[in-house]
């Protein structure tokens, strides 16, 4: 069997919280990501979903070592990247790239589009065939930007176009893996579809693997092959897309899916909806036992004391729940 492109083993990222002030002391830890295992192959898309504060963004950044992992392995093509220094990471950086959520904050306003997209070549010291300018223009054309605009600044572009600049920069070095953190959530509906289609086309062309971090389950459902549902830093459920969306087994996944509005009035008015009580608990002080027990309608005493382990319950389907749905 061939090895997967990327394999995570028990990846954790904990942040210390401090008392603040001059003599600040470490008070506790926020377990932003508390153990993720996954395998992703070339050309595959894994969706990472959950509500704000569930740790999906931290997970995405830790995979790329933008955060130093607290524990666990990040095995990229057989090599564990977790212990590598920043210097030793550099050659791997060209193979794993990121697309950010906010196309306004992620592009330096003082740089031209040309220099933004050329930056990866300069950092890695690579001169593409035909020169950097030609390659940048080719990339701009590929993502649907006018190559004549190479000397313009980010503010001269709309949100959708800026996200295309971000995409061009991410694919410049032909990476094998892209972590896309909410890449379309800041865009208008009619523009979202354009960018989603672009990402899909590029994946077909370069056989890249995507880790697609998003809270919009409709988009995740559309783009992913496999989906991981997170809640307060923990993986609640993990399954192939069709399995997860047609037959969710974790109560949280079920509630989450039922809360997504469907653009069809007849279905929207009649669909059975599970309305969860309350809000997400603070990640500084998560509930004992199963982290979801405070909002779960099936919670029993056992859920409040015993942490459910992620268990296999079907082909490629894993959940962490004491009382799964049928």
């Amino acid at each position: 069997m061939t090895q997967p492109l990327l394999k995570l083993e028990g990846l954790k990222k904990h942040f210390p919280t401090s008392t603040g002030g001059v003599f600040s002391k470490v008070k506790g830890t926020v377990k932003a990501v508390d153990g993720i295992d996954l395998e992703i192959n070339a050309g595959q898309t894994i969706g990472l979903v959950g509500e704000s504060g569930c740790g999906k963004t931290t997970a995405g950044r830790t995979i790329l070592k933008l955060y130093e992992p607290t524990e666990g392995k990040i095995i990229f093509e057989g090599e564990d990247l977790a212990p590598l220094s920043a210097k030793k990471m550099k050659p791997y950086r060209s193979q794993m790239q990121m697309i950010f959520q906010d196309p306004f904050a992620s592009l330096n306003p003082r740089h031209t589009v040309g220099s933004l997209i050329a930056a990866p070549f300069q950092i890695q010291g690579i001169t593409p065939e035909g020169g950097i300018v030609e390659e940048v223009q080719r990339l701009m054309k590929r993502v649907g930007l006018n190559p004549e605009h190479i000397n313009r600044y980010p503010h001269e572009f709309s949100g959708g176009q800026r996200q295309r600049i971000g995409v061009a920069r991410a694919i410049a070095l032909k990476p094998k893996l892209i972590v896309a953190d909410e890449p379309v959530s800041a865009l208008d509906v009619s523009i979202q579809a354009q960018v989603v289609n672009l990402l899909e086309d590029l994946q077909d062309e370069f056989n890249m693997a995507y880790i697609f971090v998003a809270h919009d389950l409709s988009v995740v459902q559309h783009i992913s092959d496999r989906v991981i549902v997170m809640y307060l830093g923990k993986v609640m459920e993990e399954a192939d897309k069709v399995d997860l969306f047609s037959h969710p087994r974790h109560p949280y996944t079920k509630a989450l899916l039922s809360a997504v509005p469907v653009p069809d009035p007849k279905i929207g008015r009649t669909r059975e909806r599970i309305i969860l009580k309350g809000d997400l608990p603070s990640p500084v002080n998560p509930p004992s036992g199963c982290v979801f027990n405070t909002r779960c309608w099936k919670a029993q005493d056992r859920c409040r004391t015993e942490v459910p382990q992620l268990m296999q319950i079907g082909t490629n389907h894993r959940i962490a729940c004491h009382f799964p749905e049928d």
């Binding site: 354009q194 988009v219 009035p265 809000d279």
Partner: protein
């Protein structure tokens, strides 16, 4: 048959802002009505004029910097009042009482230095005689009604002690404390997580029933619209391009923009993952609106309209069916084909 009695009647409303680069025509030729107990959803992308229109109805634009024309009548028991031409002092006294508004971001809409209770009492005192204690009692009553647990305790807490969903509940309590007849909710759930969104939408619906309010829900989320709207206005580049019942818009859309929009969104309940049908291009600048139809540059059916009409003449909002209007030159026969063509690509 009971007659339809609108509470709000907007007629030919235009809002424009003069800037150094030219006049921004933020919303043009807007006419619509909404009755008590009815929910009107306004959908459109950023810059389509949905918020600008409702701020004009609330009288919240600076009259010195915004050029506003047209009429917006509130049909009060004492008779109709045009909030566009009425004295600012009169409009101020309607705000919070006859009409109320909730905003997208509950953190910036609440004052961080005052307790939740003080902010609610302040709103109550504007229109009610009585002591601070009476006000506080009413504030606790409202917090209870919007589902804040331990309301009598939490009334003395500050906004930062509330979560996003709880803050939005406080905003709703504040907007409703004086029993308004019209509630404008501007993207009330956009900043919230999806499980909290469904709680807040349910609450808004319950409150609408409880107070028999006319509700205008501004959103870009077509899923939310499908769940709550009776009628829908679709806006594009400052104009209403289509309006009708929710069923009209979702099952018989007439405007190529509305057809395109509905086909461009992925659906969580549809598991076939074909390519999304994107609308090419992007909305025009509101300063340099093209001649003719604003959607023409992105519309693939413009060349099927005889005589280059789309490039020369701005289409009018024409009746297509009972209560169903669309702003498009495309003949009916071509429309049917367009719907099938776009839908067939999925």
């Amino acid at each position: 048959m009971t007659t339809y009695k609108p509470f709000l009647e907007v007629k030919n409303l235009n809002v424009a802002f003069p800037t150094e680069d030219g006049l921004v025509k933020a919303s043009s030729d807007i006419s619509f009505t909404v009755a008590r107990g009815e929910t009107l959803a306004v959908v459109g992308e950023s810059g389509s004029g949905k918020s600008v229109t409702s701020l004009a109805v609330m009288g919240l634009h600076n009259r010195k910097s915004a050029q506003i024309s047209g009429q917006a009548f509130l049909n009060l028991d004492s008779g109709p009042v045009d909030v566009i031409s009425a004295d600012e002092e009169i409009v101020r006294k309607l705000r919070g009482k006859a009409m109320s508004m909730i905003f997208q971001d509950p953190m910036s809409a609440l004052h961080p230095y005052y307790s939740i209770g003080n902010q609610l009492i302040e709103a109550w005192e504007l229109y009610n005689e009585g002591s601070k204690e009476d006000g506080k009692k009413r504030a606790i009553e409202m917090l209870d009604l919007v589902g804040i647990p331990a309301a009598s305790k939490r009334v003395d807490e500050y906004p930062h002690q509330f979560s996003g969903g709880m803050r939005q509940r406080v905003m709703i309590a504040m907007a409703l404390i004086n029993n308004p007849s019209l509630l404008i909710a501007d993207e009330p759930t956009t900043a919230l997580d999806v499980t909290v969104q469904s709680q807040i939408l349910q609450l808004i619906r319950d409150m609408q029933k409880e107070f028999n309010m006319a509700l205008i829900l501004i959103t870009h989320d077509l899923g939310v619209v499908a769940e709550v709207a009776d009628r829908v206005n679709v806006m594009y580049a400052g104009k209403i391009v289509e309006s009708g019942s929710a069923d009209d818009i979702y099952y018989r859309p007439d405007h190529p923009y509305a057809i395109g929009l509905l086909n461009s969104i992925p659906r969580v309940d549809k598991l076939e993952s074909q390519r999304l049908v994107a609308i090419p291009g992007q909305p025009p600048s509101l300063i340099h609106l093209p001649q003719g139809c604003s959607f023409r540059a992105r519309c693939e059916f413009a060349d099927r309209v005889p005589g280059n009409l789309c490039a020369t003449t701005t289409p009018t909002l024409d009746q297509k069916g009972d209560g169903h209007f669309s702003r498009c030159h495309l003949p009916e026969s071509e429309l049917v084909k367009a719907r099938v063509e776009i839908g067939g690509r999925k």
